[in-house]
């Protein structure tokens, strides 16, 4: 088992390296114009140059902050809405079409409305993040609550817990792994929404920095920024996945 795992890891590294090498060769040989695609080594250089620039770092910080706040708000709202939907099966079934079609909608088109309500700046961006991130927490919470054993509800009744205490002390801890799964998905959705709003509509943040580089023909800088952002997202995702694996192992 350990042997095959080591072998697949070797394959993975090998395919990446050969892909990068091929890209490097194509670019160095001048097969593509440097305004279209730059060599990986140039991308890396541009990334390091961009990360040395305090203004770019500030953009990164701003975007990360927006994502964190949006995820936190979405977690609270999503768990509350999930508890509510699970307690009212008729409401839940009526909501199904809305849940099913939710992620097809370009909801960040509501940005102008949000600007009117919340003002210019980071708040409407955070709001679009919350709008996108909440639904995955709701879905995960409802699915988690479905799997809570019936005896837990009975115990809560025997102990005469209030509905609030039942939720806080019994239900939420019982489906914590599912809820956490939903929250870690919602980080991804918050990222997508925040970056997309910055990209299309805002004038700050890393999404805007990428568009700005594209519009001003700074191709190397654009690729560098995309690379930095992709690395950041992959890092966050693998961290969350490791943490989730650990808590679900503890639970079982």
């Amino acid at each position: 088992m350990a042997h095959t795992r080591r072998r697949t890891r070797a394959y993975r590294v090998l395919t990446v390296l050969s892909g990068v090498a091929a890209l490097e060769a194509i670019c160095r040989a001048g097969c593509v114009r440097p305004t279209t695609l730059v060599a990986p080594s140039v991308m890396l250089e541009a990334m390091i140059a961009a990360l040395r620039d305090p203004a770019t770092l500030k953009d990164f910080g701003l975007t990360l902050g927006e994502v964190v706040i949006a995820t936190a708000l979405a977690s609270v709202l999503g768990i509350l809405a999930g508890l509510l939907l699970h307690a009212m099966p008729r409401l839940r079934r009526a909501f199904e079409p809305l849940i099913a079609s939710y992620y097809a909608l370009p909801l960040f088109a509501l940005y102008p409305v949000l600007v009117v309500i919340l003002g210019v700046g980071v708040r409407p961006i955070i709001a679009t993040g919350v709008i996108y991130a909440t639904m995955s927490v709701i879905v995960a919470t409802v699915a988690g609550l479905d799997h809570v054993p019936h005896v837990f509800h009975k115990v809560a009744r025997v102990q005469r817990l209030t509905p609030f205490k039942t939720a806080w002390r019994v239900l939420i801890p019982a489906c914590a792994p599912e809820i956490f799964g939903g929250i870690s998905l919602s980080v991804g959705y918050a990222f997508v929404a925040v970056i997309a709003s910055e990209f299309l509509l805002a004038s700050h943040g890393i999404g805007h920095a990428i568009v700005d580089a594209y519009n001003t023909f700074q191709t190397a800088r654009m690729y560098g920024l995309v690379l930095a952002l992709a690395l950041l997202v992959v890092l966050i995702n693998s961290g969350l996945r490791r943490f989730r694996n650990r808590i679900s192992e503890d639970g079982s």
Binding site: Y11, A94, A104, A109
Partner: protein, 247 residues
């Protein structure tokens, strides 16, 4: 059964009424200039459906979406079958599909524009990029969770590779493929629309951005409503199909 269905429809109608009431209340609270009222939005949508320019945008988006959806679905299933049936290929390439799913794909759009140029090809490619990885991951996952007896039967019957794929593998992973169809339906639509919102000269996404630019909120809301009705109807139909397939 029939009674149940009628009650469910009634619940949906009731919920829609509540949501419309909330919308109405919000729009009168912050002003119809910023958030048009429901009736105003429906009126604009009906008026737009008579406008040949809007119909041109609508058909541009529909065409790009249809092509992107077919490519994402077909490519995703083929890729998923390939990665799912080979342990080495799966372990080597699937992590990259997960990376592709996770990163905000808008950031890749300038790269796609540079590779495919301005035009329909770029937004189709962007739609495919949204849908394909998820379909491939779900299909591959479906194959991996199959009981090993299927492979054994195929070997015992000495099936050729092609008939193994057509007669055993594909039917066995049909539930996963239908589930992937529903997700692909949404993701690809979002991909095509976002593609149109940035650097495009036609389509609903472009109209959306143009309307945001001139503060034409009734048109913005009318487009969102239209997309919502389309996505809702499509997803509900696919959901019903998935339920029926499960039996």
């Amino acid at each position: 059964m029939m009674h149940d269905r009628i009650r469910r429809m009634a619940d949906i109608v009731l919920l829609s009424c509540i949501l419309i009431a909330i919308w109405e209340a919000l729009s009168s609270a912050i002003g119809t200039r910023f958030l048009p009222a429901p009736i105003q939005t429906v009126g604009r949508l009906v008026a737009m459906l008579d406008n040949p320019r809007f119909l041109g945008d609508l058909s541009a988006t529909s065409e790009a979406y249809a092509v992107a959806f077919c490519l994402a679905m077909g490519g995703g299933v083929v890729l998923g079958l390939t990665l799912g049936s080979s342990r080495v290929l799966g372990a080597t390439f699937e992590p990259w599909l997960h990376v592709l799913v996770a990163i905000p794909k808008v950031t890749l759009y300038p790269i796609i524009l540079l590779l495919f140029g301005l035009g329909d090809a770029a937004k189709i490619a962007f739609g495919v990029l949204h849908g394909l990885p998820t379909v491939a991951i779900m299909t591959a996952g479906g194959i991996r969770s199959l009981s090993p007896i299927y492979g054994k039967v195929a070997r015992a019957m000495r099936l050729k590779r092609r008939s193994y794929v057509w007669r055993i593998l594909l039917p066995a992973v049909m539930p996963e493929i239908v589930a992937a169809l529903r997700i692909c339906f949404s993701l690809t639509l979002l991909g095509v629309l976002v593609g149109e919102m940035f650097a495009s000269s036609r389509g609903l996404g472009h109209l959306l951005m143009a309307s945001i630019g001139v503060d034409d909120m009734p048109t913005v809301m009318a487009i969102i409503l239209l997309l919502f009705l389309f996505a809702g109807a499509g997803s509900s139909m696919l959901l019903a199909a998935a339920h029926r397939l499960k039996g």
